[in-house]
């Protein structure tokens, strides 16, 4: 492609140079026209270079270049002081209009769409060349005010005939007008049937077609306006210039599409839905019809982001399917015209791939996190259940046996009244049994507080407070039952906090507040002790924070030295 570009660029420079050289020194009257021709011809060549660079797969660059040379070369030939060149130059001056019509019909792929269109284009070339040849036979350069310094018209028959030339030009102009009408109609039909990217790509052409149509009507032979010379030498070149300029501008704008794509992906919030991704990609590509489709989980077809089925194996006419690299499920379906921008499509597919991969990884991490959270909650709940079971086993088993033993020893002691020694022995055995029972009860209570299962939070907190060696008041506690995991967590928070108050706080009093808020349970234990407790320090608070987190809650410890400690657990509670 770069070699092609180099050849084109060199050709453009050579053509411009030749034109300047051939017309040098310029006749002062013709200088503005010379500059005008040069600028227009060059603009077509520049647009050709731009088209080749932007859409290497399209023949649009070739057509722009041909139109440019067909515009420039006749003027170079006319300016050469050579009769043959002068004649050929004059002969070929109008053929570029056929090339422009060809360009318009072949936009943007550079290919004509039907045999009819091929016929129209051939008719354009034949008309332009044929009427020029017919007219030149009767054209004496002197008719156009060309003095003796002009080279001769080698095809001139006799002295020529002004009326015959004018008649041929008038017929040629009329046929040209009809053909222009057909070409413009076809272009409008192309525009109407185009969707998405193709429609956008036709915007410069539509402007140009409108301008050419207007110019043709104004300068057409049927009309003889007083300003026709101004139109011919002022408006017509401007219209011709508009085409290449509009195309180059649209190319520059398209170049920023790559940047827009980057911005679209960067702007996409993390974990954005496929629908949002599709919108971003469509904006970046300039194709509002872009579809992002995913294979159904059962593999029976594809659905787009709106949930509509998409035919991927046999796409609709004018649609193209590209698989998103790295994703086994995702495809992009877009306007066929975008095939002219393979680089942009590749970038888009890559961006889609990255975004989908990002979403997938994020969803995966989120799912794993959820799994870990759920498994942590399950582990804690299983631990609680196990503790409840152990407490119950102790209660049903060892405690029951120790109670019976204790009662039996009591009876034995009563019956051994006659033997004081035996009585004292039984009494000490009975005392041991009672102490063992007391210790076992404490152990069971530590494993799991039966009062929590029996009465819920209010009774359990009351029991904790009653056993606390520091004077503790309960300012609030919900009376009803709560989910077991929340009750247990709230209980252990208060239990651990009161244990810490008794062990470390050197406090005179403590306060327990448990408030039920919408969707939450807030547990607070505060004391008026020494403060300075650090959550990361003691394993008790660390373990408590883990326990609170296991139900999705948060633990906060405020303990400025000398200002008491406030422990607050915020638990989710339906």
């Amino acid at each position: 492609m770069s070699r092609r570009l180099a050849v084109l660029t060199a050709g453009a420079i050579a053509a411009a140079g030749s034109l300047a050289w051939s017309g040098w020194p310029p006749h002062s009257d013709y200088l503005p026209i010379l500059i005008c021709y040069e600028v227009i011809g060059l603009s077509f060549l520049v647009a050709g270079i731009a088209a080749w660079a932007r859409w290497p797969a399209s023949r649009l660059g070739l057509l722009f270049t041909i139109a440019g040379y067909l515009y420039l070369v006749p003027y170079i030939l006319v300016n050469l002081a050579n009769p043959v060149a002068f004649t050929i130059g004059n002969l070929s001056q109008g053929i570029y209009t056929a090339a422009v019509a060809h360009l318009g019909l072949a936009w943007p792929a550079g290919r004509l769409r039907s045999r009819f269109e091929c016929g129209v284009v051939i008719a354009e070339y034949v008309t332009a060349a044929g009427f020029s040849v017919a007219a030149i036979v009767f054209w004496n350069p002197a008719f156009s005010g060309c003095d003796a310094s002009c080279p001769a018209n080698v095809l001139l028959v006799g002295d020529g005939s002004r009326p015959a030339g004018n008649a041929i030009n008038a017929i040629g102009g009329f046929v040209g007008l009809v053909l222009t009408g057909i070409v413009l109609t076809l272009i409008v039909r192309h525009w109407r049937s185009a969707r998405g990217w193709s429609r956008r790509a036709m915007i410069p052409l539509i402007w140009l077609a409108g301008a050419v149509g207007a110019e043709q009507i104004v300068t057409g032979s049927a009309l003889d306006l007083p300003l026709s010379s101004l139109i011919s030498f002022g408006l017509a070149p401007l219209v011709m210039l508009a085409g290449p300029v509009l195309f180059v501008i649209s190319t520059v704008r398209a170049r920023t599409a790559g940047g827009a794509l980057g911005a679209a992906i960067v702007d996409l919030e993390p974990g954005a839905s496929p629908g949002r991704l599709r919108e971003a990609l469509a904006r970046a590509l300039g194709d509002s019809t872009l579809q992002l489709a995913f294979r159904r989980p059962d593999g029976t077809g594809y659905l787009d982001t709106a949930g509509q089925p998409v035919e991927v194996d046999r796409p609709d006419p004018g649609r193209v399917v590209t698989r998103v690299v790295g994703s086994e499920r995702a495809v992009l379906v877009y306007d066929q015209g975008l095939e002219l921008e393979p680089q942009l499509v590749r970038l888009t597919a890559a961006a889609a791939s990255m975004a989908l991969e990002h979403s997938r990884l994020q969803a995966e991490v989120q799912a794993q996190l959820e799994q870990v959270r759920a498994s942590r909650a399950r582990i804690v709940q299983a631990g609680d259940a196990e503790r409840r079971r152990l407490e119950r086993d102790l209660h049903d088993g060892a405690q029951q046996r120790l109670v019976t033993l204790s009662l039996a020893l009591g009876m034995a002691r009563d019956r051994a009244a006659a033997d004081p020694e035996l009585g004292s022995l039984i009494e000490s055995a009975s005392k041991e049994a009672r102490e063992a029972l007391t210790e076992l009860r404490e152990l069971a209570r530590g494993i799991h507080p039966a009062v929590l299962t029996e009465t819920g939070l209010a009774g359990a907190i009351q029991a904790l407070v009653e056993r606390s060696p520091v004077a503790t008041t309960i300012t609030a506690v919900p009376a009803g039952r709560l989910p077991a995991a929340i009750e247990a967590t709230a209980y252990f928070v208060v239990s651990e906090a009161l244990t810490n108050v008794a062990k470390h706080a050197m406090a005179d009093s403590a306060e327990v507040t448990i408030c039920q808020r919408p969707g939450r349970l807030v547990v607070e234990v505060s004391d008026d002790g020494a403060g300075g407790a650090r959550p990361e320090g003691g394993s008790g608070l660390r373990g408590l924070a883990d326990r609170v987190a296991s139900v999705g809650g948060a633990l906060r410890v405020d303990s400025p030295p000398g200002c008491g400690t406030r422990l607050k657990a915020d638990l989710p509670c339906p």
Partner: protein, 143 residues
């Protein structure tokens, strides 16, 4: 009609001038070993004793036996002692309702305010069970 003061150890108490016979006691507990033991202890203390293993059996037994006191374990396989006490107080075992004493291997504090909220006459930890303790409940009831 159930016999009272049936055995040797009870006779002493009868002889010390108790005009009224000691009332029948219904032990409600799902542990057979414990029931058997308590039965022998209370019979030795002069009571007539009947047994029930579940809450359902308990209300049925109260209706037929009409015991003066029900020693009711809180933990039962069908419904708990609090529920049995509520049913008896509601007259499901006949009128008048017997004195109900709740009992458990646990301590009263393990049940928070449930014991105070129950229509039962009181709570006796199992390890403190004795004929004398039950008599105190009966005496309080008569008073």
């Amino acid at each position: 009609m159930l016999r009272v003061c049936p055995d040797a150890s009870g006779r002493a108490r009868c002889q010390t001038g108790s005009v009224q016979p000691a009332p029948a006691i219904l032990i409600v507990d799902d542990h057979v070993g414990f029931r058997t033991f308590v039965r022998s202890m209370l019979e030795a203390a002069g009571f007539t004793v009947a047994e029930a293993a579940t809450g359902g059996e308990a209300t049925e037994a109260v209706r037929t036996i009409r015991p003066g006191l029900v020693l009711l374990d809180i933990q039962l396989p069908d419904f708990d002692g609090f529920e049995v006490a509520r049913r008896l107080a509601a007259g499901q075992g006949g009128d008048p309702a017997p004195v109900v004493v709740l009992t458990s291997t646990r301590e009263a504090s393990d049940y928070g305010g449930r014991i105070a909220g129950s229509p039962a006459a009181g709570f006796l930890p199992k390890d403190q069970l004795s004929g004398a303790a039950l008599r105190r409940f009966l005496a309080r009831d008569r008073a």
